[in-house]
């Protein structure tokens, strides 16, 4: 069995993980191990980001990070962890300029970095890489940097299944090497969980295949807390129909910035004003309100044929359409879409997890040696995230997590204990020899996504949430009886089993927290408690009990 020794282990190689590796190496870590269940720099949300990155650079108009902070706190509906939000806003310009020096290629206007105003921002502070290339450029730049640093060892197709602790400290991890179907043990002096979000747990989503909530499950099992798990951001105008290939379902947003565009119900009537949103001056409706309005229209029987609403640009002159969409017009035409003549159907889709692993400003969890970064972290964005805040969160928190983890690792002696890793190693060995059952994990993953979408999605009620919690608990009990095909090299049923195990715990954390919060706030909308309740201006923490159940605690 392969055993690796390292100073800092980083789980997940998106924007947060790659920056953490750079941060750790710069802070003096001699051995940094950066692993990803997919391919380094390709598997998560970072490479998929198409739009903007918020940072108070003041290049376009005067700006300063406290203004960015004020906007972030306002969007968070009273729930942001102000310390984390302040770190995010203060250091975003540092990271954006550093990446500029690494030639990421931020779009420029008149020689300065171009910045636009995205909804919820009081200043033009969102930079981007043309055309719709922000995420790919960020991922490629970080991949290049990481590959030039000798201290960083990269491993792709390594699925971390367990964090190993002794005496309450993180000392290592167990992983499944997908290519060989073999367990791998990793001894380390610090771990950074940068495994991204969980939007793949919902049937309608903007996620990649690798955003199933592994990081949250790893943290809980290691003894860390999660916070704000009920706050899943639903992106209001995800593409629904006609089927579009080669383009991300959140692609309509930039064109809403440029051209406005009208949201219409199934009868062709504008409805946002009925929900208190005035779009006479442009595209200003926050994500939580737009999502709510669309869901309400659909529930009232006024939806479009596929269960969403229409987004129409038919009132926009052809020339303006061509100018705004550029080459995208061609790609749409190949999909049979002519925006001058027809609306498209859009609907809310799960997009980003505000909640996540509870950390302090050094990105440390309450488990010594365990750090977290990126979307996996909870708290900075409260009950609703501003657009453009997630990429800077990944970069800023990533750099810090790597830096502080390296400092921790330096001050610590090897605490590896193979006995503590044995149960996780045995689980991999047992499962890869195959197991006969009555269902596959792949089928249960589909059901999990359906349940989460129906009962824990943009519309929530006590009855639905209780039903979902019960079903999730019974799926968890069924894990031992699922079919796993025998086989080593790239056995997908083995990967599915671990994905399901992690996803179920993450899903349960969201569901329990949503059930306990008897109010509506930001992204969390309860049909049975439609108002925001000032008494609920508090965060909920989730921990794993020794019996495997989840414990919830409100913190003020």
């Amino acid at each position: 069995m392969t055993h690796i020794e390292t100073d800092v282990l980083i789980v997940g190689a998106g924007g947060a993980g790659m920056y953490a590796a750079i941060g750790a190496a710069r802070a003096g870590a001699k051995r940094v191990l950066l692993v990803d269940k997919s391919l380094v720099g390709r598997g998560g949300a970072t490479i998929m980001a198409q739009m903007t990155v918020a940072a108070a650079l003041g290049e376009e108009a005067p700006d300063d990070w406290p203004l960015h902070l004020a906007d972030t706190l306002a969007a968070g509906r009273g729930l942001c962890d102000e310390n984390l939000a302040a770190v995010l806003c203060r250091e975003a310009p540092v990271r954006i300029r550093e990446m500029d020096g690494w030639r990421v290629g931020w779009a420029r206007r008149d020689g300065h970095i171009a910045q636009v105003t995205a909804p919820g921002h009081s200043r033009p502070r969102c930079c981007y890489v043309d055309f719709l290339n922000t995420g790919p450029a960020v991922a490629a730049t970080l991949r290049r940097r990481v590959s030039r640093i000798d201290a960083i060892r990269r491993v792709s197709n390594l699925i971390v299944t367990d964090i190993v602790t002794t005496g309450g400290e993180a000392v290592g991890a167990v992983a499944l090497d997908q290519a060989e179907g073999e367990p791998v043990t990793i001894a380390t002096n610090a771990v950074v969980i940068a495994a991204g979000g969980l939007s793949r747990l919902f049937r309608r989503n903007s996620a990649s295949a690798n955003m199933g909530g592994d990081g949250y499950a790893l943290a809980l099992a290691a003894g860390a807390d999660l916070v704000d798990m009920e706050f899943v951001q639903f992106f209001p105008i995800g593409h629904l129909a006609p089927r579009l290939v080669g383009m991300d379902p959140i692609m309509w947003d930039p064109f809403r910035y440029k051209l406005g565009g009208r949201l219409l119900d199934g009868n062709g009537r504008e409805f946002l004003a009925d929900y208190g949103s005035d779009e006479s001056t442009g595209y200003t409706t926050p994500r939580d309100i737009a999502t709510y309005a669309i869901q309400k229209e659909v529930a009232a029987g006024r939806g479009s044929p596929h269960g969403g609403v229409y987004l129409s640009f038919t009132h926009v002159p052809r020339g303006d359409l061509d100018a705004a969409f550029g080459p995208v017009i061609e790609r749409l035409a190949r999909n049979g879409i002519d925006l001058g003549r027809m609306p498209v159907e859009v609907a809310p889709i799960a997009h980003y997890q505000m909640g996540g692993i509870a950390v302090d400003e050094t990105m440390a969890t309450r488990v010594p040696g365990l750090y977290a970064a990126g979307e996996a972290v909870g708290g900075a964005n409260g009950a609703n995230r501003l657009s453009g805040n997630a990429i800077p969160e990944a970069l800023v928190f990533g750099e810090r997590a790597g830096r502080f983890a390296a400092a921790h690792a330096k001050a610590r002696r090897d605490g590896w204990d193979a006995k503590r890793a044995a149960p996780a190693v045995d689980a991999i060995r047992r499962l890869r020899d195959g197991q006969r059952g009555n269902a596959s994990a792949a089928a249960l993953l589909e059901e999990l996504r359906e349940v989460m979408w129906r009962e824990v999605g943009p519309f929530r009620t006590a009855a639905g949430l209780v039903g979902a919690a019960n079903r999730l608990a019974s799926m968890r009990r069924a894990l031992a009886d699922l079919t796993v095909e025998p086989g080593r090299a790239f056995n997908p049923t083995l990967a599915d089993w671990f994905e399901l195990r992690a996803g179920l715990i993450a899903a349960e954390a969201v569901t329990q927290a949503a059930l306990a919060r008897q109010e509506s706030r930001g992204a969390h909308q309860r049909e049975d408690f439609p108002d925001t309740d000032p008494a609920w201006t508090c965060r909920q923490r989730v921990a794993l009990r020794p019996d495997g159940g989840l414990a919830l605690k409100a913190v003020r």
Binding site: R42, G43, I47, Q50, S147, V245, N335, P492
Partner: protein, 112 residues
């Protein structure tokens, strides 16, 4: 509602086994992609089918590159067709790990 069916002939087996081909019938919907069909097969017919993909829609990860009727293409942007059997094989020129998965990891990102 169309009730058409697409037929896929898929290369199976790990690298050291002699290749064999399995045929699957998949419900055909207008606009669906080859990747849609592969994901459907995994959930509904044969969970053991190994495929590689990440971004699903955005066409940015390039992990889904395979041979479709002998030409290298992305499973996520190639439309499914119902008029004849389509053959799927792993990306040529790389060692096969299993089924449609070739070892496309950059050499410096491997374990050894």
């Amino acid at each position: 509602m169309t009730l058409a069916t697409a037929h896929l002939r898929i290369r199976r087996g790990s690298g050291d086994e002699p290749p064999r081909y399995d045929e699957f019938a998949v419900p055909f919907e207008d606009g669906a992609t080859v990747l849609d069909a592969l994901i459907w097969i995994r959930a509904q017919r044969d969970a053991s089918l190994a495929i590689r993909y990440s971004c699903i829609n955005a066409n940015v990860c390039k992990e889904c590159t395979i041979a479709i009727d002998g030409s290298v293409a992305y499973a996520c942007t190639t439309r499914l067709r119902a008029d004849r059997v389509v053959t799927l094989e792993p990306l040529p020129g790389k060692p096969v790990l299993r089924d449609l998965v070739a070892d496309t990891r950059p050499p410096r990102e491997r374990l050894e």
